[in-house]
Symmetry: none
Subunit: 402 residues, 2 copies
């Protein structure tokens, strides 16, 4: 029996409300040996109070040593095993621009590039054209490309990057990238690696043929390449597997997209954390699970800016009373992965996590930080195990067996 | 997706070097209630310094409560799930005498025994004949036994024990032992439990028929029995699954054999720990993963000699500076299992483990010992999860998902 079979079977309804506050990339590292991490450096009276009253621990997003992207990181927190539910790159890119991807779609990452008269690649990123130019070229492609039998969507992302989506029947996603990963050779034709994806490969070939025609005369972006062919994986909703009416309050499209993937309703999150807390209050009666996503603990970490990450954590802490005031039955604060400013990137380090609820057993944690969490009652656990714990503390899981 | 698929997919190359120092049977128990273990009793300034700078924890070799042999214990440390990769006893026995076992081989543990005129078993160990006699009898068998269609290898081990290897095509290993496990009955004929092993059973029957002929007139060892029929399991190399050029420095053949099983190159380890450290230095430029095996923490534990185990741990500690001086990017010190001298045997107790690298998050451990490790940042983990962590700290694993 897998966990989703179990949560379906044990599901019980009540009025309890769960808040999952994800501080993206929350976990960190000290800059100096045996120093303090960003979270340990930040002044966080509200998080510390929650840690004292609740239970703490360290979450491993995917598996020990594995550094997750945002997709696997969030799926784990939503209770979906990220090694089982593998979200393809094309789908993630589409989610990242708020594209309403559906079950008949195959999504691809595209990028404009430069080729010479013989079709040989001279610049894989077309001189990193401006986003405005990308928007203009996507419009031109959209106007001119017609492929019988399917709908084609062409959406700009940023600079030389775009998203291409084919919508139709019988479109597999097992197609190889067309980027040869070297200059001086022609871009590749799309090749299917299984029969069910042969039609997609043919359509992509035709798409690229027409692209070449339409962009002839453009410079430097006179061709495109396609990568990361991906269909929506079959994912049961949080309503189906947990009986939850889940609502997402996320400022950035990628996280709204990931929430949509598991069937959350997307609420207006505005632009700031204050907007998100106001949105939470507004939506309070409309759901029983609320995912609030806070981006800046990750982006400051990626910038390598320790002080800025500390400041962003303190900003998050200051917003907490507004959430606590709503009296959620279960309040979880965690991250989808660590982003130590020392490393300027996502990392594999376990993520400090706290769960506050009336049914928490006391643990010795006196504040919220990586080292404190080592002593916490949650221990070290896989992220995918957190949601069943939230359900339990919310009184939404019955007894297994007699 | 399993971990080896993941490590293959995420594999990144660099110049980082990893040292895995395995103190066999490292974990222990106090002799007196609430006393100190062998490791806690030993004076280990160098291990303690590594523990302070690195991250500690406790490794469960196979699963909670499971006492491993050397095979599963080491496979786990090499990142191969010991419950998935089951190395048969015949293969382990062959590895233990440095026999170069190959993919067309089926290996068996043999033992000389005594039978009466009617072929009924009178001594399962042939009076524990001396090793010299075993060598002599193996030579006699080797000279006289001929089985058409295969090569037969007959190698002495110790006392009444030998290794028999058949080399040929289509040799399965699903054959039952010929030891009836009681006296006064005939030794059993080999019986295949699946059709693919029928030929092996026939060949083994012929081998035992000729053995009886050749040994007629010998006393007390006038017959042999075969147990633990086993082929080499299909195991991908560490190069394949992790991209590592792995080098083993092990004094004892069993551990060289286990290292060979996962594709390590076997370097000359000499006879002492000092030889091994010198070998490590000599091989430093030729690999990026180094397995150093130290036997005596296990053998003193098996002897039930607490003080000797303490002394052997101190000897290991004294050798550490020679390894640290090479500046490995990741240095792990652990054991393949516990061997408490109190129990005089391998045990299931978790094994103290430390990992030192620049990217370690601080933990409160101030020394290296079983109780200190309980507070460590690695927590309690399965041995098979250690290698991905080593790869992560070495910067050799990319991000999973976008």
């Amino acid at each position: 029996m897998d966990m989703h079979q179990l949560t379906r079977q044990l599901n019980e309804s009540n009025d309890a409300k769960i808040v999952l506050l994800v501080a993206d990339g929350l976990g960190g590292l000290p800059i100096e040996p045996n120093g303090r991490t960003e979270l340990e450096t930040a002044r966080t009276p509200n998080l510390d109070a929650l840690a004292r009253g609740g239970v703490c621990g360290l979450s491993t997003p995917v598996a020990p040593g594995i550094t997750p992207g945002s997709g696997p990181g969030h799926l784990g927190l939503f209770g979906y095993d990220p090694l089982k539910f593998d979200i393809g790159r094309g789908v993630l890119e589409a989610l990242g621009i708020d594209f309403p991807i559906g079950p008949k779609d195959v999504a691809m990452r595209g990028n404009f590039c430069s080729v010479d008269a013989a079709g040989k690649l001279t610049d894989r990123r077309a001189g990193r054209i401006a986003t405005e130019k990308c928007v203009e070229l996507c419009g031109k492609l959209r106007q001119n490309i017609r492929i019988p039998g399917i709908e084609v969507f062409i959406e700009p992302v940023r600079e030389y990057r775009l998203v291409v989506v084919f919508r139709g029947d019988g479109l597999g996603d097992q197609v190889e990238d067309t980027d040869p990963q070297q200059l001086g050779v022609p871009t590749l034709d799309p090749v299917a690696t299984e029969p069910g994806s042969a039609r997609t490969a043919e359509l992509a070939k035709e798409f690229l043929r027409q692209t070449r025609e339409v962009l002839r005369g453009e410079s430097p972006a006179n061709m495109a390449m396609l990568r990361g062919f991906a269909c929506m994986p079959p994912i049961a909703t949080m309503k189906e597997v947990y009986g939850l009416d889940a609502v997402a309050l996320a400022v950035y499209p990628m996280y709204r997209g990931l929430a949509k993937l598991v069937g959350m309703r997307i609420a207006d999150a505005g632009k700031t954390l204050a907007d998100q807390v106001a949105g939470l209050e507004r939506e309070w009666s409309s759901g029983n699970f609320f995912f609030v996503h806070y981006k800046y603990t990750d982006s400051t970490g990626e910038d390598g800016n320790f002080a800025a990450k500390v400041a962003r954590i303190e900003e998050l802490d200051a917003a907490l009373p507004g959430i606590v005031a709503l009296k959620p039955d279960v309040l979880i604060v965690t991250g989808d992965h660590s982003t130590p400013s020392l490393l300027r990137s996502h990392s594999w380090h376990p993520v400090p996590t706290l769960l506050a609820a009336k049914t928490c057993r006391p643990d010795p944690c006196t504040g919220f930080g990586e080292t404190e969490c080592l002593r916490g009652g949650l221990g070290q656990f896989l992220a995918k195990d957190l949601l069943p714990l939230a359900l339990a503390h919310a009184g939404r899981l019955g007894k297994y067996g007699a």
